[in-house]
């Protein structure tokens, strides 16, 4: 199982029956494929849809039916459509149980940076700033280090922020890290890695939970 799949499978276990969830583009979208059997979850897409279904079969894409990543999707029974201002009213208004996003950097205060690298072309924040400001629980799903082996979990973000003190949990292929008022706490650890090794690969200071659990994936 590769890193992204490990992360997606672990977060899928955190999605509970009855949740309304927004999944970001990329890795977070994979979570929908690994949901536990028998739970009823409604996926929101911020371009104006509740009840997002899987991608359509080849040749059956409807150009009027896309997700926020501009990919064709299908509808599940009971889905609904609405305009952008209403979509963000439900996001900002605290109606989403969970928002899962990717990140470039997260820090000890739960600050998130995922939209801009100064000096490079800025493509825009899209809906990310509203999602992190409004969702009841914000989970960052990302690989622990950059391709160059640098920590993405820092004492303090160096890139421009997407949100200040907005992240509740960070999930990487190495484990589950909770953002608490006392800093970052490693609560679950993946198979095959020791807590000291996770800390060595993390710039931010991690407190190892006295109740540290194995990170189970489905």
């Amino acid at each position: 199982m590769n890193a992204k799949e490990t992360i997606a499978r672990r977060i899928a276990r955190e999605v509970k029956d009855g949740f309304y969830v927004n999944l970001g583009i990329g890795l977070p979208t994979m979570i929908a494929s690994y949901l536990p059997q028998g739970i009823d979850v409604v996926f929101q897409s911020e371009n104006g849809m509740l009840g997002v279904g899987p991608p359509p079969a080849e040749g059956e894409a409807d150009p009027d039916l896309i997700n926020a990543g501009k990919q064709p999707v299908t509808e599940v029974a009971g889905c609904s459509y609405f305009a952008s201002e209403e979509s963000f009213a439900m996001i900002r208004g605290g109606h989403m149980d969970m928002s899962v996003l990717g990140a470039m950097q997260v820090d000890e205060q739960g600050n998130l940076a995922n939209w801009m690298i100064p000096g490079k072309m800025v493509k825009g924040m899209g809906g990310a700033m509203d999602l992190v400001a409004g969702a009841r629980r914000v989970i960052v799903a990302m690989e622990h280090q950059t391709k160059e082996g640098e920590s993405r979990i820092l004492k303090q973000c160096t890139l421009p922020l997407t949100g200040m003190r907005v992240v509740h949990d960070i999930v990487t292929e190495f484990g589950w890290i909770r953002v608490t008022p006392d800093g970052l706490v490693l609560t679950e650890i993946a198979e095959g890695i020791e807590p000291a090794e996770v800390q060595r690969r993390t710039e931010a200071r991690l407190t190892i939970s006295p109740d540290l659990q194995a990170m189970l994936v489905l």
């Binding site: 911020e46 064709p72 509808e75 305009a83 963000f88 700033m129 509203d130 922020l161 997407t162």
Partner: protein
């Protein structure tokens, strides 16, 4: 009352250079293809556009950009347009990025007579720089101002001659809010129906907001993810 105009060309014939124009759509989904094409034929310049995205190279608002018509743009995500990138870097185009929900609410507010509002979005980020903030209860909010435009070009699925509109699937997006926030709203519809045919309970945009209705002649409706992949494949 008959708001139907005979062609997209006639519908946009009096839009002045330098106008502020809102354009509906999310990526290439739900964009007024025919109105954009008619505007591109006129090649008016100095336009200030407000739209969530900026089309892609070779389609949608990308065509307006290529024709040198746009002076400034307000949007939330412009990642699919390389020409835009060059123009922003060279200073030919003034780009303002706004969080998507803030953009939608600023337009809604513009149409609803609300001059400004407080939002939690963007607090502590560069989006809030230079803006008034205020603590209400236990949270701090950023003051954002309403957006209005001279013209809104929107796309609906069905409409009648009174300007009542309904949309289809996720092609709704920014269209209904923009329809309310401009002095002149022009709606492009796929199907023109007789008054009374649309269930009054289902009308999303009541006709009061719409000044002109035009029937789109043909639709390409590219799916953006596939369109970009095909273009990249062709260029390789």
């Amino acid at each position: 009352m008959n708001k139907v105009v005979e062609s997209a060309e006639a519908a946009v014939a009096d839009i002045a250079p330098g106008s502020t124009i809102m354009l509906g759509g999310f990526g290439l989904c739900g964009i007024p293809e025919n109105l954009i094409a008619a505007l591109v034929k006129r090649r008016i310049t100095g336009l200030h556009t407000i739209s969530n995205n900026m089309g892609v190279d070779g389609f949608g608002m990308g065509l307006m950009l290529e024709a040198g018509m746009i002076a400034s743009h307000i949007g939330s995500y412009v990642g699919e347009n390389r020409r835009l990138e060059k123009m922003v870097i060279s200073g030919e185009l003034n780009l303002t990025l706004v969080p998507q929900g803030t953009l939608a609410e600023r337009i809604r507010a513009g149409g609803a007579g609300i001059p400004a509002f407080y939002t939690p979005t963007g607090l502590g980020t560069i989006v809030a720089e230079g803006k008034e903030t205020r603590q209400i209860g236990d949270r701090t909010y950023v003051l954002e101002t309403a957006l209005r435009a001279d013209v809104a070009l929107v796309k609906a699925w069905k409409g009648d001659r009174l300007g009542n509109l309904v949309y289809r699937r996720t092609a709704r997006n920014f269209n209904p809010a923009m329809a309310t926030a401009a002095k002149l709203t022009i709606a492009e519809v796929e199907q023109l129906v007789d008054p009374g045919e649309l269930d009054p309970d289902h009308i999303v945009t009541p006709g009061i907001y719409v000044k002109r209705v035009v029937v789109g002649e043909s639709y390409v409706k590219p799916i953006e993810s596939a369109f970009i992949k095909a273009k990249q494949g062709g260029a390789a």
